[in-house]
């Protein structure tokens, strides 16, 4: 009887404490005006992109030779029209679908791969750690933009290749963070206790360590979304991402580049969207960092 009680105690105690911790983090975030504002802006952009077909927008592919490059505020074209006479508002909203997809997905993939690699490297240590971390070092020998361009350029243009190349860029960064957090957690008493109770390495990593390392890695990954959005749109801007006539912010910026002499402010609009999403993710990541009280 006494044995079962002591067995249950270490399991319920961290769980109860963890719930209180996350509730606190949530409360701090809701009080943070900047975090709330960024969250709302991002939510609006995402919802608009997801529900674009039901928003009664103009057809984002339907051009008009006589209504090219209309200025912002033209009747029926609230945000003007592009170089082929397509409605800018519709294209900006529809563009969010692909732009957010290719910007966020690499970070999600890298988060999963990098966390696993870092967790294994940090927990197992020794030769496994050396093997993983030295391989990671090789990728650090390339500036991240150069690495993304190199892989994307070698693989050729396309959405899949752009997602692959950005994932490769972010995996090493997340692995490093995951490894350093894991190493600092691994020698704590509760891990020692789990090991003493006979738990296997996989169980310890999954049950006891993952919950303790996920927070900092998650915050770091949120900050990366901002970089990823800029780079993903940048690859499209160079012509390495999606192909016309698909609406995508980076590609739109590229095709509108020649229009800066005719209607400069319409040409600059897709960049405003990239900027808005990127800065909101950055500010949100900062707010989460301070709400969770993570240093560095």
């Amino acid at each position: 009887m006494s044995l079962t009680a002591s067995d249950a105690a270490p399991q319920t105690a961290p769980a109860g404490k963890a719930r209180g911790y996350w509730a606190n983090v949530g409360r701090r975030l809701i009080r943070d005006k900047i975090a709330v504002a960024c969250g709302i802006i991002l939510l609006l952009i995402v919802l608009a992109a997801v529900f674009a077909p039901w928003l009664h927008l103009a057809d984002p592919y339907q051009g008009s030779m006589i209504r090219r490059l209309k200025p912002i505020g033209t009747a029926n074209y609230p945000l003007g029209s592009d170089e082929l006479g397509r409605d800018m508002l519709a294209r900006l909203i529809y563009g969010g679908r692909l732009s957010l997809f290719i910007g966020v997905l690499p970070v999600i993939f890298a988060f999963m791969i990098g966390t696993s690699l870092g967790l294994v490297a940090g927990y197992v240590g020794g030769k496994v750690n050396t093997a993983i971390m030295r391989t990671i070092d090789v990728f650090y020998a390339f500036p991240s933009v150069l690495l993304a361009i190199a892989i994307s350029g070698a693989l050729g243009a396309g959405i899949t290749n752009s997602i692959v190349s950005l994932t490769v860029v972010f995996v090493p960064q997340i692995t490093r963070v995951a490894e350093s957090v894991t190493t600092s957690v691994r020698n704590m008493d509760f891990v020692e206790a789990a090991r003493a109770s006979g738990a296997g390495a996989f169980t310890i990593m999954r049950v006891h360590m993952l919950g303790n390392v996920l927070g900092p890695i998650f915050v770091y990954a949120t900050g990366l979304i901002s970089v990823s959005m800029i780079l993903a749109a940048g690859l499209s801007f160079l012509g390495l991402g999606t192909k016309p006539p698909e609406p995508e912010w980076g590609l739109m910026l590229n095709t509108l580049r020649t229009a800066i002499y005719v209607n400069p402010w319409v040409a600059a609009l897709p960049g405003v969207m990239i900027f808005a999403v990127s800065i909101c993710f950055n500010l949100l990541s900062d707010s989460m960092r301070s709400a969770m009280d993570i240093r560095n």
Binding site: V145, L155, G156, N282
Partner: protein, 317 residues
């Protein structure tokens, strides 16, 4: 100290070799035949085999890597398929233009970054701090290729003050430090400088805040040191980390210039990379990336050594 430097240099050798391996493999992850750019579409089987043998593509991969590396060590990175000129000469000419751009951007970005960071860290949680942090976050979040476009719209299209593209009057290839050329440098340099400016501001702000909250600062003030003196101690303590961050940023500017150079048609390594990609000029792509990555590795090495020279604690780690 010499032992530390020697150890750091030895550590760089495997990195350089792996970098070379990655660059070598780039050509082999490309879909399709690496000969596709040189081979006529209607070429016979024999001609294809001949060319494959001439380029060494018929040998096993490790042998190909060895041969390629041996040539690369002797400064032979092959010939560009598009121009027929040696890759190394093409790359070095372009890199010198990128270095010009990166240095100009570094001067702008680092001075403003250090200034904003020190002020923000010193006047923490005041409106000055909030403004500096706001600028820094905008700097790291802005898609810089878009900022370049906006700058062109304002200063070239609307005000007609500065040229929109190129690196000199009449498209001349030779760079010179006179006003006729510097006019072309201003907009790309400002565009390139915003990210390092933001990152240096954030780093220096955090450093300054941390240092000012340490006990020794209290002691300095208690012994009657004036605030300018305290400030001197802050700068001294922040220098090694700030230097490391700035070194890394300089490397990013050199290696990641492709977007800015594309916007401004700046004839540097980024624009070269761009044309190599779209002309499927694989030797040029490979060579440019190798040279830029090696620059980055060497820069990191010099930063590490410089850091250890300033702060003796580092070499013990």
């Amino acid at each position: 100290m010499l032992a530390y430097i020697a150890r750091r240099i030895v550590y760089v050798v495997p990195i350089v070799l792996s970098v070379a391996l990655v660059c070598f493999m780039l050509v082999h992850i490309t879909p399709g035949d690496p000969l596709v750019a040189v081979l006529p579409a209607d070429a016979s089987q024999e001609l294809a085999a001949q060319l494959r043998a001439a380029y060494g593509f018929d040998r096993p991969l490790p042998v190909q890597f060895g041969l390629w590396l041996w040539k690369a060590l002797h400064g032979d990175l092959g010939t560009s398929i598009a121009t027929g000129r040696p890759v190394l000469a093409e790359v070095m000419r372009a890199v010198s233009n990128t270095v010009t751009l990166a240095i100009a951007a570094a001067i702008i970005g680092f001075s403003f970054g250090l200034l904003f960071g020190l002020i923000a860290g010193y006047f923490r949680d005041t409106w000055i701090d909030k403004m500096a942090t706001g600028i820094a976050i905008a700097g790291v979040s802005v898609p810089h290729y878009w900022l370049g476009m906006v700058l062109v719209i304002v200063f070239s299209v609307q005000l007609n003050w500065l040229p929109a593209v190129g690196a000199g009057p009449g498209g001349s290839g030779q760079w010179a430090w006179d006003w006729a050329h510097i006019r072309f440098l201003i907009l790309p340099a400002i565009t390139t400088s915003v990210i390092p400016m933001g990152i240096v501001t954030r780093t220096v702000r955090a450093l300054t805040g941390d240092i000012l909250s340490q006990d020794f600062v209290e002691a300095l003030r208690a012994k009657g040191l004036r605030e300018t003196g305290v400030f001197g101690h802050v700068i001294k303590n922040a220098a090694p980390t700030a230097l490391a961050v700035m070194g890394l940023q300089l490397g990013y500017m050199l290696g990641g210039s492709i977007l800015v150079e594309t916007v401004f048609s700046w004839p540097g390594s980024g624009l070269l990379l761009n044309s190599a990609i779209f002309q499927r000029d694989l030797p040029l792509l490979q060579g440019t990336i190798l040279v830029l990555a090696l620059f980055f590795v060497l820069l990191n090495l010099s930063v590490d050594i410089a850091q250890a020279l300033i702060d003796p604690r580092i070499k013990r780690a």
